[in-house]
Amino acid sequence: MKKEKDYIGDIAEIRSMMERSSKFLSLSGWAGVMAGIYALVAAYLSYAVFNFNPDEITSPIGAPASGSMLPPQLVSLAIGTLLLAIGTAVFLSQRKSSKRGEKLWNATSRRMIVAMATPLVTGGLLILILLSNGLVGLAAPFSLIFYGLALFGAGSFTYGAVKFLGVMEVLLGVIGTCFVSYGLLCWAIGFGVLHIVYGIYIHYRYER
């Protein structure tokens, strides 16, 4: 007959397999902090350097009839920030998962990405359409709303805190839509401050 230790070992194995196969726990807290810092820098640059702070839904940045009204530098800044944040998250999560002896790209992370992709792609396309119609003021709050929805969906496959973060982002997005002149501020709080707070929380709660 087996010893007591073996039974407890059996149960521990069951627990860890259930968790490992249903939750993606290699998400790095530092990635959140870094993404928050990038976002704050980007928000500051777009405000201070490019003078981007639309206070109306159809904010005239260029000539209204000229189609796309965003200066290309601003678009590059946005895309650059996004790529940098995603790159950092993938890199740090890869490191964390190999430390845990897991693969980053497994059935759980796949499911999480698929859950996030639907609202993100929808939101991304919608924002492009809004921008091309000159509704520049809605871009920042709408990105918050759709990112929040994506996080809320992803929350089922990873730390529960992600769900809460998603709700907060959606709330900020709704506020930003109501008060467009605070859109950029809400964006900076949502993508900057909240990410940093979330990252520190994850780090102290799960990574020490």
Partner: protein, 99 residues
Amino acid sequence: MKLAIDGLYKAFESRVRLGIMSVLTVNDTLDFNALKEFLDLTDGNLASHIKALEKEQFIGVTKSFVGRKPNTQYFITDIGKTAFNQHLKALEQLIELQK
């Protein structure tokens, strides 16, 4: 026949099989490669454990094709769920007794 004296299922004696049952409890269906990754096993090792659990009808298999590639999905059966729950209960009781 399937039960040992203490209420534990013989089929779940190996850790690997407990792992397979745990993973399939929380996932509706999984393919062979996903199971292999989670459990960190070789093909042959996993296949033999799966076969044993299949024989007891604790897990089921659906085979289909994705394009031309065969795609095998594994899932837990009702019999398997009941057996796994009973096995867990028995484990709990044994630990309680030994305290």
